[in-house]
């Protein structure tokens, strides 16, 4: 499954000699640098252009695909994109989703809008196969920082096992600092256990707050084998949607809305067979109550945890009391253990925000996630679009880590140029790794030693001094 080929396009923003025009820039970059305590000296780093940053997302609209004849410029000319992996049949990037592009813009603006860096490469990470290929490809490019946005509600047991975990681990071990968004599944997850005795069935109430809500419901259960290989499972669950009176919900063709893939071990022989422990259904729903039914189709004497996640592109609904609810809401949502794959990996730094839809931890194996809850994760662009949430938090935090990385490279060079041996030794010791990023986070907890009021929240950010940073960089990992 490893990929050999990939396509890289150098983005030529200034086609036909026309001067490309910078557009939709982050308007509150300076305010945010001030807010997070990033001094101007970081922006003047000589080594910033040497920092390599990979961004994985499901869409970079505006950059990929690039509208024909357009001279608008969102990112530096040195940005590259990796959108296809020849030989593989991948889902293409969503041409309407601009989240990845906005995140890249935040990173570029926060790091000073320098034309020569950091070096940014945009990767198609919109589903399992392309994400695995992207991680493989990164091994060759060796990015210093990986910014991953797409969090999957399946493809693992939410405890750092599953088909993506090895890829993440290998890349992290190769020295990449992987910063992962916690995902936007806050309040949209149910974690339960199901017995695999014959004909077991569990229903969960789903409340739809707006007509015409296109919802995707994903069922995932802990039957993923560790490692890269899809070993398959014979624990077979199905997913169905019923109306409030318990009758099967029908689609426009009068067929029941169900997902009835057959989980198998070994080779797949039929179209409806799958070796992943997941089911997924899509439905356009209208205001009211529904039931999501999880049905066991196998016969075993054990039971396994499962997770139901409902997602929708519809924005949250503001109720009359001013509170926000997701357009599609599980009445018995767990409000914990919402971290998806691969943000659950111990090799990534998972970043959340204080927005209600930012996924909360801990992981299924009870590790603290997200590693950081970043305050003030809101971005305003000059096209007057405003975005916020965990993706934006990840973008801001990534910018800081990029600047720290550049500082590390600067210091290395400064020390190595000095004649005495001690300095040269110090230079060799300098290194920013994932564990040091974790150290920085701990150093920047607003109330060191104390848990924030919300026990599920792991850390909140406050500015870090230059001195503290150097101390961490020179400390033993």
């Amino acid at each position: 499954m490893r990929l050999i080929l990939f396509a890289v396009w150098l983005l030529t923003f200034a086609a036909n000699g026309e001067v490309a025009e910078l557009t939709s820039v982050l308007e509150n970059a300076e305010a945010k640098r001030h807010f997070y305590g990033i001094s101007d000296s970081y922006l003047a780093s000589k080594s910033l252009s040497q920092v390599r940053v990979a961004i994985l997302a499901r869409g970079f609209a505006g950059v990929v695909p690039k509208p024909e004849g357009e001279t608008l410029k969102y990112l530096p000319d040195c940005v590259e994109t990796v959108t296809e992996y020849p030989g593989q049949n991948f889902k293409e990037l969503d041409p309407t989703d601009e989240t990845g592009r906005r995140v890249a813009q935040i990173i570029w603006a926060m790091t000073g809008l320098h034309e020569d860096g950091p070096k940014i490469r945009l990767y198609n990470g919109c589903e399992l196969s392309s994400t695995r290929c992207a991680y493989d490809q990164m091994l060759e490019w060796k990015p210093h920082i990986v910014v991953a946005l797409e969090v999957f509600p399946t493809f693992g047991n939410f405890n750092d096992t599953g088909p993506l975990s090895p890829y993440v681990r290998v890349l992290a071990n190769a020295g990449a600092i992987i910063l992962h968004s916690a995902g936007e599944t806050g309040g949209k997850v149910i974690n339960k256990k199901i017995s695999f005795k014959k004909n077991t069935e569990i229903s969960h109430e789903l409340k739809i707050h707006a007509d015409d809500t296109f919802a995707t419901i994903t069922l995932s259960w802990n039957a993923f084998s560790p490692g890269r290989i899809f070993a398959g499972t014979d624990h077979d669950l199905d997913l169905a949607l019923c109306s409030s009176d318990g009758k099967p919900l029908l689609d426009s063709n009068q067929k029941p809305i169900v997902s009835e893939l057959r989980q198998v071990v070994g080779e797949l022989n039929k179209d409806n067979e799958i070796n992943l422990s997941m089911e997924r259904l899509n439905a356009n729903l209208f205001k009211g109550r529904y039931y999501v039914v999880v049905r066991n189709r196998s016969d075993h004497n054990d039971s396994l945890p499962y997770r139901l996640t409902v997602t929708s592109k519809s924005p949250p609904i503001t109720k009359e009391d001013g509170s926000n609810v997701p357009a599609a809401e599980f009445v018995e949502a767990s409000h914990s253990q919402e971290i998806g794959v691969p943000a659950d990996s111990r090799f990534v730094v998972t970043v959340g925000s204080d927005h209600p839809w930012s996924a909360k931890g801990p992981t299924a194996d009870n590790r603290k996630k997200p590693d950081l809850i970043l305050d003030g994760a809101n971005a305003f662009f000059s096209d007057k679009k405003a975005i916020d949430g965990p993706h934006v938090a990840t973008a801001f935090f990534s910018s800081m880590v990029i600047l720290f990385k550049a500082r590390e490279l600067d210091l290395k060079e400064e020390l190595s140029q000095k004649s005495d041996e001690k300095n040269k030794l110090d230079a060799q010791k300098l290194k920013l790794t994932t564990s040091q990023v974790q150290q920085i986070i701990r150093a920047c907890e607003k109330e060191p030693g104390k848990q924030p009021p919300d026990k599920k929240v792991s850390a909140r950010w406050s500015p870090i001094s230059d001195q503290k940073l150097i101390e961490i960089l020179t400390s033993d990992p």
């Binding site: 025009e21 557009t23 939709s24 820039v25 357009e70 608008l72 707050h209 707006a210 007509d211 015409d212 809500t213 689609d251 426009s252 356009n284 209208f286 205001k287 519809s314 924005p315 609904i317 357009a327 662009f381 000059s382 096209d383 007057k384």
Partner: protein, 709 residues
């Protein structure tokens, strides 16, 4: 004449409709499909407008509502899940056999769907009705064909929440206005959204001056500069700049014009300079007959549409009007051609932290006040606005008040949790109310609706002393004239039933400000106490034969500027009116059955122009130059272009005062002036702004009483 029509609109007179797609949305199975969405809190909204008081059960199925729009997404194309937005028997007309150019509905545009759905919601979501027919009105040609069909269909109410920023002179004479007039002449209620043009329009008179490159650039009165400034505050803003000028021929006929001017866009550097070359330009060639339709047009318009315009906080975009041809420039200058520049963007207002308020992404720094009604909002239908600053304000170019009705409510939330607002939505809400009233009282006409909206105004007028006026001809003391002049404008459609008098003369605003400052000073020096004799008058009344037997004769005429002896200026004459009727153009006679004293303008002193004097009472008709035009199915009388040209202002500054020529004193004379449009607009607006007319739903008994007449 048929070929003439064909040439104008590009369709034959056979108006059979194609039924492309699915013309009828009804399900054959008889099972009613579920709704795709609902208006949230519709019962509260109906309660606000007291709609529950009306019994519509008997007639709601008979009310026919036509909705003209450019997109009916969810209906055409229909939803995959077959859910619906309207009663099952709603119909849609997507195309016309006669149309030369195919024009398709935007499959992603829900605007028209929203309009129709809101009407249905306001009418109570009754499966029985009203009957809906939805029309593709994406182009003027389709619009025209749609109006022809809805007349044949026998629509009661038309909902149109679109406007064009050109295709006419904004005085109700555009060819699309004629289509609306045709509809209203059939007693059909036409409801048009005012449009969200508030502070997005500049009106002026072309003042072309030679530039260093040998061409001509228009100078703008307000800034005395060659450019109009606007600021774009948002990157990637979809901005449309439309220049339209008064070279459209009134009526059906689209003859084309050779008055060729161009539109240019420059970018300022924030320090008083600007880009050497235009960054965008629109240089269509205006022609009498179009040959190359990419480069030529018969329409007096230019448009620059920039899809992703860069935003700047401190730099202005500069809009310029140029004329390359010297002869054309001279001609335009002599004709004092009026123009309008409208600048729109697609991005919604945003919250500006610095100013702590919602800000439009486009700030048209040189926008003029009012005069923002576009085509066909300027026609004979009722134009519906709202109370926000985004709602276009009137009056029309010819001085009629528009919008006629302002709705306090202009926002809707659907059960999809999507909120929508603006004059379109105000119009749809109003259309829903009109549908209920029509179902309650089938005799409801457009003028009744206007009457109900004026309840507040009546109080205003009475407070101004009008209650004291009797049937007798008023003593035309100066104070009365002043009162009349200032009160007429916002109340032009007001009829005092007890007074049995029709005042039918367009008087413009507060005359003190209407005359230029210099003029005022000169007059004040000559006669410091009496310069209030100068009234600003524009178009008077119209005379027109209308086929509809319910319609009365109305007179159509033009008041010429000149001096008049005030004591004899306003005379009364008896005019028999057979039926109470109302001309929503604002130029008509109104009144209940009986004989009326029509106040008419009769010049008694010849001065400046012989013809004014010679015609005496008949001068209006002689000037008018009526002619007959055949349109599909009927014959109509039209205003001739010749008169329209003559109607333009004539300066009297160089003439000798009549009291010098004819003797007497200045106070014996009244001067009637046709103002430059820009002045007119300002004057009209100053009065207009004070007189907002809000909708107030009548009680069933008031409705019944009103519709009896």
């Amino acid at each position: 004449m048929k070929s003439f029509i064909k040439a104008i609109c590009g369709f034959s007179t056979c108006l059979a409709l194609t039924t492309l797609g699915s013309p009828t949305l009804a399900q054959k199975s008889g099972l009613s499909r579920e709704l795709a969405t609902r208006v949230e809190k519709i019962n509260e909204l109906r309660k606000i407008y007291s709609l529950n008081a009306f019994d519509v059960s008997k007639n709601i199925s008979r009310v026919k509502v036509a909705v003209l729009d450019k997109g009916f997404a969810g209906i055409y194309p229909a939803r995959e899940d077959k859910r619906r937005y309207l009663p099952d028997d709603a119909e849609i007309v997507t195309d016309f056999i006669e149309a030369q150019k195919k024009s398709f509905l935007d499959p992603a545009d829900f605007h028209g769907t929203d309009m129709a759905h809101i009407v249905w919601a306001m009418a109570g979501y009754s499966e029985a009705g009203p009957k809906f027919r939805l029309y593709n009105a994406t182009t003027p040609e389709y619009f025209r064909l749609a109006t022809e069909d809805l007349i044949q269909w026998g629509a009661d109410i038309v909902v149109h929440s679109q406007n064009w920023e050109t295709y006419g002179n904004f005085n109700g004479t555009a060819f699309v206005d004629e289509a609306v007039r045709e509809v209203t002449d059939h007693g059909i209620i036409w409801l048009n959204a005012a449009g969200n043009y508030g502070k997005h329009v500049h009106n002026g008179v072309l003042d072309l001056r030679k530039n260093q490159h040998g061409g001509h650039l228009a100078f703008f009165q307000k800034s005395n500069n060659w450019f109009l400034r606007f600021r774009n505050l948002a990157d990637e803003n979809d901005v449309r700049i439309t220049l339209s000028w008064d070279s459209f021929h009134p009526g059906w006929e689209q003859k084309g014009t050779e008055n060729d001017i161009d539109l240019l866009l420059f970018l300022g550097d924030g320090k008083g300079g600007f880009t050497e070359k235009a960054i965008h330009r629109s240089r269509l060639k205006q022609v009498i007959k179009e040959i190359d339709n990419e480069k030529e047009t018969i329409h007096a318009y230019e448009q620059i549409h920039v899809k992703k315009l860069k935003g700047y906080e401190n730099r202005d975009y500069l809009v310029a009007i140029s004329c390359e041809d010297e002869a054309t420039a001279k001609k335009l200058l002599a004709q004092k051609i009026r123009y309008r520049v409208t600048i729109l963007s697609t991005k919604q207002p945003f919250w500006d932290d610095k100013r702590s308020k919602q800000v439009n992404t486009i700030e048209f720094l040189d926008a003029t006040e009012g005069g923002e009604i576009q085509t066909p909002g300027d026609s004979t239908g009722l134009t519906i606005g709202d109370v926000t600053s985004q709602s276009a304000e009137g009056p029309t170019r010819d001085g009629r008040i528009k919008p006629e009705i302002l709705m306090a409510k202009n926002n809707i939330k659907f059960s999809t949790e999507k909120g929508r607002f603006g004059t379109s939505y105000a119009n749809a809400i109003f259309a829903g109310i009109a549908t209920v009233l029509k179902a309650a009282e089938p005799g409801l006409k457009q003028h009744h609706l206007l009457q109900f909206a004026q309840s507040d105004l009546k109080r205003f007028w009475e407070a101004e002393g009008w209650s004291a006026i009797t049937n007798d001809a008023p003593s035309w003391a100066e104070s009365e004239i002043i009162k009349w002049a200032s009160a007429w404008l916002p109340n032009r459609a007001y009829i005092r039933k007890d007074a049995h008098r029709v005042m039918n003369m367009a008087v413009i605003g507060n005359f003190f400000d209407a005359i230029s400052e210099n003029e005022q000073n000169n007059r004040a020096k000559q006669n410091p106490d009496k310069y209030q004799h100068y009234l600003q008058l524009l178009r008077s009344f119209e005379h027109k034969e209308v086929k509809d037997p319910d319609r009365t004769k109305t007179e159509f005429g033009i008041v010429k500027e000149g001096y008049y002896r005030d004591k004899k200026v306003l005379k009364t004459r008896s005019v028999p009116v057979t039926k109470y009727e109302w001309r929503n153009s604002g130029r008509g006679i109104v009144g209940a059955n009986g004989t009326y004293n029509l106040l008419t303008l009769v010049p008694v002193t010849r001065y400046a122009d012989q013809q004014y004097w010679d015609y005496e009472r008949e001068y209006v008709r002689a000037e008018y130059g009526d002619r007959t035009v055949t349109v599909p199915g009927r014959t109509r009388t039209e205003l001739s272009p010749k008169v329209e040209l003559k109607y333009r202002p004539i300066s009297l500054d160089s003439t000798e005062p009549p009291w010098v020529t004819f003797g007497g004193t200045p106070q014996d004379f009244m001067r009637i002036t046709q103002m430059d449009l820009s002045q007119t607009v300002i004057q009209l607006l100053s009065t207009h702004n004070k007189q907002k007319r809000f909708w107030s739903t009548p009680t069933p008994s008031v409705l019944k009483e009103a519709t009896k007449q």
